[in-house]
């Protein structure tokens, strides 16, 4: 850790400590409430240092928490005062599947306009290359490998969603791939750098600002914001404000930081609508239950149809890259090379 980074950590640590309710650290070794994965001995302190590329979003989070006087301290006995987000929800598709909420068009019956994200030159070039590949019919989606969408793309996905709120933790579930985010609101900090690793849906901590859930997320795995949308790097972090605007609408205001992919933070707004269809239930999503999609030699997606016989060459799958497109592999390899150069060639 260099001196500047240490100084930054110290400032953040002091700021965080100032916002942590008295007793939080005492609770970390005390008895816990049952019924949640928050009920574990692992609860990193709120001032746990995290890498410098997350500092911009963390500082915004800390400021927001200070403005909310440390957050609204819901407990089991005040559970009734928490917002009621029960029921089923689904992404409002009236604006399409896009991540870029300011982009014109919906991609359905109105063509999408130019992307509004302020991309870095490398990520802009990769995005343009992706669009050229898509136009030529070569597009692959990691969902076809039965992998999760991963956060933040997860925000854009359709299908049924559900919120499970407890004072210590919120689960936000999407039926697709049975993919659930866990947002810890028990005052803990992020997982320490020494033991942290990339997670499909990141490491999320949060607090309640009255009826609004504020969430800070780091440690995502690089990916794309959605098909025909840009890519994001592992250095991506986000700050979200999730709240109900009316009985049938929940809004997530999201700001994204990505030092490798974005020149300036990207602010988008996601909207989710209540679903009341008879018989609608979130089911275990078994992707391989009916998945006959394969990747062709040229990189496009194709079906195997009934009666067809296909010979597939199955090679070793590098867990870090097997699901990526050629353009993504190149882009994320450049990220690594960039990091390596910064560290003087040492991994």
């Amino acid at each position: 850790m260099d001196r500047d980074t240490s100084k930054t950590y110290a400032v953040i640590a002091i700021a965080l400590l100032a916002t942590v309710p008295v007793g939080v650290f005492a609770q970390s070794s005390g008895p816990r409430n049952p019924g949640s994965t928050a009920n574990t001995p692992d609860r990193p302190p709120a001032n746990t240092p995290i890498p410098d590329y997350y500092q911009a979003s963390l500082q915004s989070y800390v400021k927001m928490k200070a403005e909310a006087h440390g957050g609204t301290p819901f407990r089991r006995d005040t559970y009734g005062k928490m917002p009621d987000w029960s029921g089923l929800w689904s992404r409002d598709l009236s604006h399409g599947l896009k991540f870029d909420s300011k982009q014109s068009g919906n991609g359905f019956n109105v063509p999408l306009g130019p992307i509004t994200a302020d991309l870095t030159p490398r990520y802009k070039a990769a995005f343009e290359q992706k669009l050229r590949e898509v136009a030529s019919g070569n597009e692959w989606d990691q969902l076809s490998d039965c992998l999760p969408a991963g956060y933040p793309r997860w925000l854009t996905e359709p299908f049924l969603r559900e919120f499970i709120l407890t004072p210590e933790e919120t689960w936000w579930i999407n039926e697709q791939q049975s993919e659930a985010r866990r947002i810890y609101t028990d005052g803990r900090g992020h997982v320490p750098d020494e033991i942290a690793h990339g997670l499909w849906d990141g490491d999320s901590i949060g607090f309640w600002d009255n009826q609004t859930l504020v969430v800070h997320t780091i440690r995502v795995i690089h990916g794309e914001y959605q098909r025909s949308q840009p890519d994001y790097s592992y250095q991506t972090s986000t700050l979200e404000r999730i709240h109900m605007v009316d009985h049938d609408t929940i809004v997530d205001e999201v700001t994204v930081w990505d030092p490798k992919g974005l020149r300036t933070p990207w602010h988008v707004v996601m909207q989710y609508k209540r679903v009341t269809d008879a018989g609608a239930r979130i089911d275990m999503w078994s992707c391989e239950g009916n998945n006959n999609v394969i990747r062709t030699a040229s990189g496009s997606s194709q079906f195997i149809l009934p009666g067809e016989s296909v010979t597939v060459t199955r090679a070793y799958k590098d867990p870090d890259t097997f699901y990526l497109t050629t353009t993504q592999k190149k882009l994320f390899a450049q990220d690594e090379a960039e990091d390596l150069a910064k560290q003087g060639g040492k991994k």
Binding site: G107, F108, L112, I115, S286, G289, N290, F303, S309, T313
Partner: protein, 147 residues
């Protein structure tokens, strides 16, 4: 993964041509777990046939329909639709299409001519119309910058 052979490819392509596919104007794709690039969203085809089965499941439902070609031979067509929750929202139930039902299907065809497509609508013998995507699905991408 690499596709090495598609044994039925040529046969299916010929069958599609023989059946006199009706080509109309665009508007379809799906909120899918895969690229929609294999479908030709600039075209629609309409076919009549008999339901073989309806796979009401995630990640995608498939309506399998036996269609008789102009040469008199039956061809099994597959029409991809959304998973159960999206279909329920569109009013399509697990038993909406039963084996043996006579149906007329409209879909975006495969670009390569094989007997499959992205399901748009189904008309059953009693005149009921089922549309899979009430809001109409994604087909476009942002403008492509020149190299």
């Amino acid at each position: 993964m690499t596709i090495r052979t598609f044994e039925c490819y040529a046969r299916a392509r010929t069958a599609a041509a023989a059946m006199g596919i009706v080509l109309l104007m665009p508007l379809n794709a799906a909120t899918a777990h895969h690229s929609a690039a294999m479908f030709d969203h600039s075209k629609k085809l309409t076919l009549s046939g008999t339901v073989k089965n309806f796979q009401f499941t995630n990640p995608h439902s498939w309506l399998m329909v036996t269609v008789t070609g102009t040469d008199g031979n039956p061809v099994e067509w597959g029409f991809e639709a959304e998973g159960p929750s999206t279909l329920l929202h569109a009013g399509i139930l697990p038993k909406s299409f039963r084996p043996g039902d006579k149906v007329t299907v409209t879909a975006n065809p495969m670009r390569d001519g094989r007997p499959a497509g992205a399901l748009i609508s189904v008309v059953t013998a009693d005149g009921s119309v089922y549309r899979t995507m009430p809001g109409a699905p994604p087909a476009s991408h942002p403008p492509i910058p020149k190299e």
